[in-house]
Symmetry: C2
């Protein structure tokens, strides 16, 4: 069994880096705070004798050798970056469950058959740079390295420059780790496990995600002198699309639709907005339904452009197809062995494991979180809940290594 108190203490120590007054965490990818959290992870892994390497998109891999080091290692990992209004658990819990597994093996002098790999993936959140799961997606070959390094934040700062600046633009080739299976522990981020009073969620599926950049181009003009019928009001058109995003979600079973980001230009209260840029996020566990939602959004944007006599440009720059986790039964076996209550579940959020599933048998372990709240400073998972997840991770990894 892992050490519950030690796991909790590492969570709290890591959470202090970018910790907020309300008990959350604001640690965007590629910032100085991201560097501090990475450095701490590296120091903890090195203290347990790991060899640490960084790849070309900044993913970190710490390896603990086993008995047969030519055999593929068993991997785990998650991310240390957070949302601007993030909590102390999203991603971090997965990384530190790994560290706790590592320490448990180390302290007990356990020699595993295969090596064990503990990883931190770059920019999983997709908040400062897009898309989400950028490090893992690039590692597995879904995204082009140069394209991703050239991605910029709202201030025009390149991801590649930020990684170099914080010392995490590595030399290691993408996809080059010798790994045979991958497991990620994560808080559920939703209300289901709590509602159902289950300690562990066996994640069977990661739902589909479609992300868009939408730009409405109207005509700036005076709010006091432009008659209503002569306006090309980019804000009004954008508001219709926001409302429709909600309607699309409600029309489809398990549909979700969100506009989280918006920039208005010139953003002056007596000038009718000439340009509004915003994000759209559509999700569904079923790819056919998600496609219909996508088509409805595109059609609606075209309709709005005509009705308002202005331009609506929509860039569907990211599609993440639903993924099935094919090593879920390993997670289930370990959970049952340990005697935790459990249920099958699907992941509403994207996770690094979703991309790792491209390369190796992959499973995910969910733990409950208070009121199902995440991407909020109030995000919380109790010491016991965290310990359960880390114990399942430990035993899932040990089993996989034995085989």
């Amino acid at each position: 069994r892992i050490n519950e108190k030690r796991l909790w203490d590492t969570l709290m120590e890591m959470g202090d880096i970018g910790g907020t007054e309300k008990g959350g965490c604001n640690r965007l990818a590629g910032t100085d705070l991201d560097k501090q959290s990475r450095d701490l992870f590296v120091s903890w892994c090195k203290a347990c004798g790991c060899n640490v390497e960084v790849d070309k998109i900044g993913n970190i891999f710490a390896r603990r050798p086993g008995k047969y080091n030519d055999l593929p290692a068993v991997g785990t990992g998650s991310h240390l970056d957070t949302q601007p209004t993030g909590g102390k658990f999203d991603g971090v819990f997965g990384v530190l469950s790994g560290v706790e597994v590592l320490r448990t093996l180390h302290d007990n002098n356990i020699e595993t058959p295969t090596a064990m790999e503990f990883s931190v993936w770059t920019n999983e959140e997709g908040s400062r740079f897009q898309p989400a799961m950028q490090g893992s997606g690039t590692y597995v070959g879904r995204f082009d390295l140069e394209t991703e390094l050239n991605k910029t934040d709202v201030n025009g700062i390149r991801l590649g420059d930020e990684l170099e600046r914080i010392g995490y633009l590595g030399e290691m080739e993408l996809g080059s780790r010798n790994m045979g299976a991958f497991f990620e522990a994560h808080i559920e981020q939703g209300p289901i496990l709590e509602d159902e009073k289950k300690a562990i969620g066996i994640v069977r599926l990661g739902q589909g995600i479609r992300w868009y950049n939408i730009e409405v181009i109207g005509r700036p003009s005076h709010s006091g002198t432009t008659p209503m019928h002569l306006r090309k009001d980019a804000m009004l058109a954008a508001a219709s699309i926001v409302t429709e995003m909600n309607a699309i979600a409600l029309r489809h079973e398990n549909g979700l639709g969100t506009v989280g980001f918006m920039q208005v230009w010139p953003n002056s209260r007596n000038t009718i907005p000439g340009n509004v840029k915003f994000s759209a996020d559509l999700r569904n566990p079923r790819p056919d339904i998600l496609l219909t939602m996508h088509e409805e959004l595109i059609a609606f944007c075209e309709k709005i452009a005509k009705e308002h006599d202005l331009d609506v440009n929509i860039d569907p720059f990211w599609y993440f197809a639903p993924v099935e986790f094919n090593a879920s039964d390993d997670v289930k076996a370990a959970t049952e062995k340990l005697g935790y209550s459990h249920m099958d579940i699907y992941a509403g959020a994207g996770h690094d494991a979703c991309y790792m599933a491209d390369l190796v048998p992959t499973g995910m372990i969910f733990t409950p979180c208070l009121n199902g709240i995440s991407h909020n400073e109030a995000e919380y998972s109790s010491p016991e809940e965290c310990a359960a997840g880390a114990n399942v991770l430990l035993h899932t990894m040990l089993e996989a290594s034995e085989r």
Copy 2:
């Protein structure tokens, strides 16, 4: 008659300060560019022998003495600040028509019976600091000086500090100029004079304006894991209010409704917005209708707050009641004497003259502008159209001085 080419040249020279690639102007109140434009105005006035003073809110007054200097002066003026996507004419045309009147009097050695006053008012636009017509409104006593100097822009910078920094925080008491009448020339900023093919608009009324700061306080949470029915989506609620602003305007004769400014927090695409702040601008020439529009907006915000189970705070921080210009007949007489086509009109925008009407007989002279477009870099008024307005200003002021 004034000198058409000279007027045009000063407009173009002033327009270069903050001039944009698309031929417009971005010269926000209290910036270095505002300082440059003020300095140029002051140097032009001094070159014609004026004595220049600055009051406690940064308004500039240049006085050309007349024969009887104890008599109240005849004043004119407007503003040099622009919108972020402003043109070269809004405000500037009125100020430089004044300079052209001054130069015409000076070059022809005309001694007017009363003194003539040429003024520049601080932050008429209300874009960087609120409300609009801040300098004239404070001068006439509608606003409290300390409150206005303490107003901050979106970056928290105080108006008072900016005025001091650019050297235009003066010592002169508010409301202390000895003026007996005030006239302001301005581009119409709307499409009516152009449609009706009239050279001059005799402005009879300034319509009513109500400005609001609205803040929707929801709950930030994850876009991929928060079921639709558990959301408190501040963006969705804000979008409904934007849509309703349009509907309120369309329901009422001559109604206008605009949301020009919006800030989203945390502005991350996979976090449901926890907080959206935006502006609302309602206008109507009739105070009773404007009051109904106001009540409808308040009621709708309350309804939305209930429906979405979140908070909507609405601060109706500025009400400008419709104002009648009681020296319009002076403008009409001068226009007819000069033989320009004309029509009565009301002002959709607020103007410094609207507040000066509190203190002295006041009139406004409108000139056409291309396609009725303003608060847009494409704003344009031809040299002939500008000259007509400046000629009417000259003769209106001369007549008023004679009486």
